[in-house]
């Protein structure tokens, strides 16, 4: 009764009934791996909500204050207002520590779900025409998400995360020709500029989230317009979508998944300590801690910095410092590779038609092998970021550990990629020969559409 009156009221003003009708009956393919993008979206929502709460209490100021709060070991210690406000959130504000830890855990989960989602898109060929634009939007979301994670975790100003700011400075400075200018523009001066904290705060809380929101909207609008892809199967063709209807089944499932993401983040936020900045102590210009690692999604970059040899280019008084290669070149090439992939593959495979049916990894052994090889490459670098932790745990000299990782970085991706290629190709060939021996009419042969 009420529903009908509401619908009529809205429709009289928006003429929305036809739209609502199509929306409620919209069909979504329901493979579990299609939920990964949603998980990323829900993580972002959690980040927005918890972040808003935190922003009400956090003071992005480097002015010094003498702490007199309830955490006894730091009473009487001089620290930045930023750090003191994080202590207050953790110890004085009820639910403050939970929400702070939920925010940080959600950022780790955000990066993880984006990367898993990207892997799913890659291995199933969902980036092919007509979805290249959405792929590019997704790469943009990945880069923005990673940047915002970095900007966020160094806001408290503790010794561990202060290292992240130093590294950002060094990496930006190492860019040829424009490095010093770029850094002075961004930082407002040399490393210790007092403005950098408030700038990072504005970027973290306002600029980047707005950009992410905008890109997410584009991402979903395109998805809406093009309809989701689906795997081959009985009754599934290039020109239809088979699955669940939005209302009620899919909406309930999506809602349930949202609550599940919040539940996981909530459990982590309460039960597993993350970023205990009171133990890391307030950062000062001369403070050092070891070991020092970034959050996991930057492990590959940190590992690259540790593993890359001491090579520098110097000529005529100009130089390209060693940090440039793993710190600027590697990430830039990585993003470029991601951006170019759909177009490279279309050119290489001479396949420019539209695709709405997904492939399985074995349908494209070469693409899958390259993907697995790349994952191995970044995975080894990620593992290499803990080289000093392994050295301490196993009492092995850290130089030896580093050399092992140098070898692994070069060898393991090739070996595993090659093995993956052989395995997938033989899986595919066996399947083809089995099918050609059997009945002729098979819904969708491997490697072709329709």
């Amino acid at each position: 009764m009420i529903a009908r009156r509401v619908v009529r009221w809205l429709d009289d003003r928006l003429a929305a009934a036809p739209f609502a009708h199509t929306t409620l009956n919209r069909v979504f393919p329901d493979h579990f791996s299609f939920l990964l993008g949603e998980v990323a979206l829900y993580c972002f929502i959690v980040l927005l909500a918890t972040g808003t709460f935190l922003a009400m209490f956090f003071e992005p100021s480097v002015s010094e204050v003498v702490y007199q709060g309830s955490y006894e070991p730091l009473r009487g210690v001089t620290m930045s207002r930023a750090y003191a406000s994080v202590l207050d959130i953790s110890f004085e504000v009820r639910l403050g520590l939970l929400i702070r830890q939920m925010h940080h855990w959600a950022s780790l989960l955000f990066a993880g779900s984006i990367l898993l989602h990207l892997a799913r898109i890659f291995f199933t060929g969902a980036f092919r025409r007509p979805r290249e634009i959405n792929w590019l939007v997704g790469v943009g979301l990945l880069v923005l998400g990673l940047f915002n994670g970095w900007a966020g975790y160094l806001l408290p100003g503790d010794t561990l995360h202060g290292t992240g700011l130093r590294l950002g400075y060094a990496i930006a400075l190492s860019v040829p020709v424009i490095g010093p200018w770029l850094v002075f523009l961004l930082f407002g001066g040399e490393y210790q500029s007092p403005q950098i904290l408030s700038r990072l705060f504005v970027a973290h809380v306002y600029i980047v989230p707005l950009m992410i929101l905008g890109l997410i909207s584009v991402h979903m609008a395109i998805l809406w317009r093009q309809k989701h892809t689906q795997f081959r199967g009985p009754g599934r063709t290039q020109t239809n979508v088979v699955g669940e209807k939005m209302w009620p089944a899919y909406a309930a499932k999506a809602g349930g998944l949202f609550f599940a993401v919040v539940a996981v983040v909530g459990l982590l936020g309460g039960l597993v300590q993350i970023s205990p900045v009171w133990l890391y102590l307030p950062d000062t210009p001369a403070a050092v801690t070891s070991p020092a690692q970034p959050d996991w999604y930057f492990g590959w970059l940190d590992g690259a910095l540790r593993v890359f040899p001491a090579w520098e280019i110097q000529a005529f008084g100009f130089e390209i410092p060693a940090v440039f290669f793993p710190g600027v070149l590697l990430p830039t090439l990585s993003v470029l590779l991601l951006v170019m992939w759909p177009f490279l593959e279309a050119r290489f495979s001479k396949d420019t038609g539209p695709h709405h049916l997904l492939e399985r990894p074995r349908d494209r052994p070469l693409r899958s092998a390259i993907g697995v090889g790349l994952i191995t490459f970044y995975g080894v670098l990620l593992a290499a970021a803990g080289n000093d932790v392994y050295a301490r745990t196993f009492s092995v000299p850290v130089l030896q550990v580093t050399n092992v990782f140098r070898v692994l970085t070069l060898v393991l991706p090739v070996v595993i990629g090659f093995a993956t290629f052989r395995m997938l190709r033989s899986l595919r060939d066996r399947e083809i020969s089995r099918m050609s021996e059997g009945a002729v009419a098979v819904a969708g042969g491997a490697g072709s559409d329709d």
Binding site: V175, G256, P285, I320
Partner: protein
């Protein structure tokens, strides 16, 4: 539609799930009012949301119509004649500009100029690098002090000690900070001795020349300075020459001297830019 044991049990389990969720929410309220406790709060959030999660998904999976439903896709390529219509629409407007070329060019010039002007606020964000990257606050005669402002006497440092030192009056200076070490005199093999300072006292910039972390670890036996970020190592007895890790350049050495009262003073600024490398570092 489904039948069977799942469908019969499901409604009860789903309702139970929602009930558990409600208990979790109530529990969160109780924990909050009792003063809060992070682990209990997290557990209650997990239960409150988890109950809803399981209930909703189970409801969707076992009780709601899952189809499979089929929907047709529209072709994403429009008909040729529709595309031609759009091209014609643009062309009609474009003829306006085409006929008045001059207006078009002047518009382009105005937009271009405006675009450049819009960059000026960005320029206000920062200053010219100038000499900042090449100089620090050290100069001849400035006393070395520790982080609490106490000056350092040349004769009070034991062998194997490492001290973080700053220019007097600037104990928060990020790029002037240095480490002062007393070497075993028989192990000093290279580097430039400070003017009129004991040979076994050396001070180096604390900023690692690789990626800017602070070189705060010292191994008195090997007399190596070590950086914790990427495991770079420097030989303090040989001008802080890099000996391990991804470091390419030594730490700049601060020239030292001893004043009349026995305190250590700098004998000048660092002879080369401190910290990480940058494009024109070699052209001061």
């Amino acid at each position: 539609m489904k039948g069977g044991p799942a469908e019969e049990r499901a409604p009860r389990l789903i309702a139970l799930s929602f009930l558990v969720s409600a208990l979790g929410s109530a529990g969160l309220g109780i924990v909050y009012l009792a003063g809060g406790h992070t682990q209990a709060e997290g557990l209650m959030v997990g239960i409150a949301f988890g109950g809803l999660a399981f209930g909703l998904v189970a409801w969707s999976k076992y009780l709601m119509p899952n189809g499979p439903f089929v929907e047709e896709r529209d072709s994403l390529s429009s008909e040729d004649h529709e595309r031609e219509k759009v091209a014609a629409d643009f062309a009609r407007g474009g003829r306006q500009i085409g006929r008045r070329r001059f207006l078009g060019w002047s518009l382009a010039a105005a937009m271009g100029a405006l675009g450049v002007a819009m960059l000026f606020p960005v320029r206000s964000l920062g200053s010219r690098p100038g000499r900042d990257l090449f100089e620090t606050a050290w100069a001849d005669g400035i006393r070395l002090v520790t982080s609490d402002g106490e000056p350092v006497r040349a004769d009070e440092l034991a062998v194997g000690t490492l001290l973080s030192v700053f220019p007097e009056g600037r104990t928060n200076d990020a790029d002037a900070q240095a480490v002062l070490v007393r070497l075993r005199i028989d192990r000093r093999t290279g580097g430039r001795p400070g003017a009129q300072a004991p040979e076994e006292l050396v001070a180096y910039s604390k900023i690692c020349t690789h990626a800017g972390c602070l070189v705060g670890l010292y191994d008195p036996r090997s007399q190596n300075l070590l950086c914790p970020c990427h495991q770079g190592a420097f030989d303090a007895a040989d001008g802080a020459r890099p000996i391990a890790g991804p470091v390419t350049r030594r730490l700049p050495e601060l020239p030292l001297r001893v004043d009349g009262q026995g305190f250590l003073r700098a004998a000048g600024d660092f002879p080369e830019p401190v910290g990480v490398g940058f494009w024109n570092r070699g052209r001061s």
